[in-house]
Symmetry: C3
């Protein structure tokens, strides 16, 4: 469904004010979106960050989404909006070419007779829907996905090829779950016993709110007792690991390779950058921002930005400094000793300067 | 199979001493398990850590698994055991509601005529069992799993939906392999040649002992020459990466996102916390504990706990300190110079104090 | 296809000079490859690193691939080559026993009538080929793989069981994609709007060059606008994450668990060691080497080796030093203050020494 709206239609759909340059045609159709630098004359573009302002004057786009302040600089037709980045996001939905499968159950899918699949849902080839699973209206289950017993997929959600939902999990409405994501595998729980491990069967489930997106190869484990809970509007990137009984607050976002250990609680509106980690049984305050690769090892009580790690450098300098890291405590003691000795020396000499 | 044992039956199954509070009924059925705080009156609970002792007096559970020392404080029926955490683990097996598929090959599964599948095994829809694979007694292969040529799954093992075992791999008895885990993909081996890479075909396999659990999206590569070997009773969490020719000793445990590079050897009874890493061609002594995100870069010869990394803090303080990290060697030299100068100054002045 | 070449044939295929020891038979067949230490008398071995030279004298291999310089020390038949490691890599191809599926579409595969599958390609059970996908000559698509609409798999490429290629992606010739790898999932793009997230639909695709290998559970996201591009001959290990609009230059290699954030550019002939990371919107110069777990936070302009992180130690020492890390800036200031005070003291006292 490659829509080709006219400039007028596009403005209308985005709530933008259309300011045509002389010679422009409000009925010109727009074939797609591109950056200011790469746009062809049949594509629209956007200016959402000062970093790209320098590309505005040279753009070949037929129209540019931008703010009132910068509209005057626009050499082509302007689509003036309050928030150009948000307007751009809305525009991408218009031009999205992702396949939209037709409703119905593919003959090569396997739907258990005790499962309930809404007539408007689409179940692709190779998908397996197990007993008592419920698939809501307009849901699209991709090829070779598996939805386990008694699990529920809310209306409008989409599972891409190969995603797996274990038994007894609940996915909200309008969620997107990418390929190879795993919802509801066992949490990692074992009791040590005679130098071996006794499995703690994971009796809880997973509960995912509405409008959640979960990236490829991400894992959200089921709870040990009680559920693992992902709040409304949470966005999770690829290869993210969320352990049993974690709670992620509404509208938080977790970039690729971030991880949260068992029973930790992440507040609302938090962002975890790529590779950030949170250890188990702690909590992170609403609105916290954790920078890339930071490991949070204690509860965070107040909103803010938090970091750990060392800067990178050429390996040779790094090696010299890294060796000193192992001497830091000793260095600190020597520093203190020096201060004491100098103090006593100065004291003996009389007042300094 | 939601079992509902009576208190008497539960005590019996767990080897616990039943101490009924006045008014309690030994024939009351127990419907499940919960924490001390959340338990409903038809649920049992447990007290395994001093941290939760404060919740004991207020619990509504019908019975609590705990040790002799704390039994006197228990306001409800006590189930007295030597090791409450282990007893709790055993109890979770009783209340586990994970679906138990019936034996047989689903009509939508594909089993190669040259494969051997035990009559008591269960092969779910969409699973593919390739030529000469052998599936043991009571094995449960989940939907859309793939077991490659000549691979073998030992009796009692369970593969959850979408798990993949390549050709020529051996999985022991009573193993659990979660969704999207990959056993036996090629190790990462390439010889540099004229600024390109020549593939080193990976001729070995993977050999997994009995009672091993492997988490979702974890990868265990096949050996280059000879096998990658996972010992008996090893427990591996999600998104763990084990490279070619690694050996993991019996009963070691690896938390999520940990990784071991090629040809490294991890001893028995080791624990790697979340995100821990071990570089290639080194060995880690039996019983070592590697803390979260630590990167082990040299062999560890003696049992102990090992760590690396920096503490986290607010980003502003972190930035100030991180910059200094790049000056550490220079700081160490300046410190030494100061010591020398002070020494010489003191020496010139005569004895200090 | 377990080839058993004779020594003469093996030498011929590898371009090696055969130097028979007395009593050896040039027509002896070689059954496989092993290390110098483990080789049985019917196996060949290789010596490619000085570290293993000590095993040469005791080897039981029937022949050893080695260089002219070491040929004199070889107690068994020598296969003399310029580059023993490369010759070994070539030899592994000869002895590879990975199953070679026959051409044809398995009856349990689902190929859309509008897809184009070359007659010489092999499509395994449970694989799903969607509309307008094109599968080239000799391609082998493993069990339960999914190739999305309009995607293209170049001649000679192999997808292992469960790999997923989304719609609109192009894979070059002679690529290898391992199980659970995901090519073309949505990049992680959301515009903040009224404390919620508006999805930026990802309108680009993925473009993968010839002779690329991609490991198990690795993810290469589709571009937001324009493509994510993986150059020719790039080798990617397991659990690697490549975000939208990244570009990886020809013949670069990325070890397991490495990650590159959005719109970053990695040059040609780079190597990223295990767990290395590169943040978004920066570039890394051709030929750079990033060591294990290093996080690259700024563009790298010149070839070299780059590192970050701290050395590991026993947890007790580590804890002492880690605490000091949080005091580093303060220590640096105190050091500077000491230098000033000492300077002024010396100055007051007259010249030092």
């Amino acid at each position: 469904m490659t829509a080709k709206p006219t400039l007028t239609q596009l403005a209308q759909q985005l709530g933008a004010e259309l300011r045509l340059v002389p010679g422009a045609d409000a009925d010109q159709s727009v074939s797609g979106l591109s950056t200011l630098q790469d746009a062809e004359p049949d594509q629209a573009s956007f200016l959402a960050s000062a970093n790209y302002r320098r590309f505005l004057s040279g753009t070949r786009a037929c129209a540019v989404l931008l703010s009132e302040e910068l509209a005057g600089e626009c050499p082509v037709t302007a689509l003036v909006v309050d928030d150009p980045y948000h307007a751009f996001a809305c525009a991408t939905a218009i031009f999205d070419i992702a396949p939209r499968p037709a409703p119905g159950i593919h003959p090569a899918a396997t739907v258990h007779p005790d499962a309930e699949v809404d007539a408007s849902a689409s179940i692709a080839a190779g998908a397996v829907i197990e007993a008592f699973a419920r698939i809501g209206a307009g849901v699209r289950v991709g090829a070779n996905c598996v939805v386990g017993e008694c699990s529920e997929i809310g209306a409008g959600s989409r599972l891409y090829a190969g995603a797996v939902v274990y038994h007894g999990c609940t996915i909200g409405r309008d969620c997107v779950i990418h390929s190879q994501a795993v919802i509801g595998a066992d949490g990692f729980g074992f009791a040590p016993h005679r130098r071996q491990w006794t499995k703690i069967h994971q009796l809880g489930g997973v509960e995912i709110g509405d409008e959640v997106e979960i990236g490829a190869c991400s894992c959200i484990d089921r709870g040990a007792l009680g559920n693992t809970v992902i709040g409304r509007g949470v966005k999770i990137d690829n290869q993210v690991q969320i352990a049993h009984n974690v709670r992620i607050g509404d509208y938080s976002a977790m970039a690729a390779c971030s991880a949260v250990a068992g029973s930790a609680t992440i507040g609302k509106h938090c962002t975890l950058a790529g590779g950030a980690g949170v250890i188990g049984h702690i909590s992170v305050a609403d609105g916290s921002h954790i920078t890339a690769r930071t490991l949070v090892t204690k509860s965070i009580d107040s909103t803010g930005s938090y970091s750990s790690g060392t800067p990178f450098s050429d390996s040779r300098s790094w090696r010299r400094n890294a060796v000193r890291y192992g001497q830091l405590d000793q260095m600190a003691r020597r520093l203190k000793e020096l201060e004491k000795r100098l103090e006593s020396l100065v004291h003996r000499e009389g007042t300094e300067d």
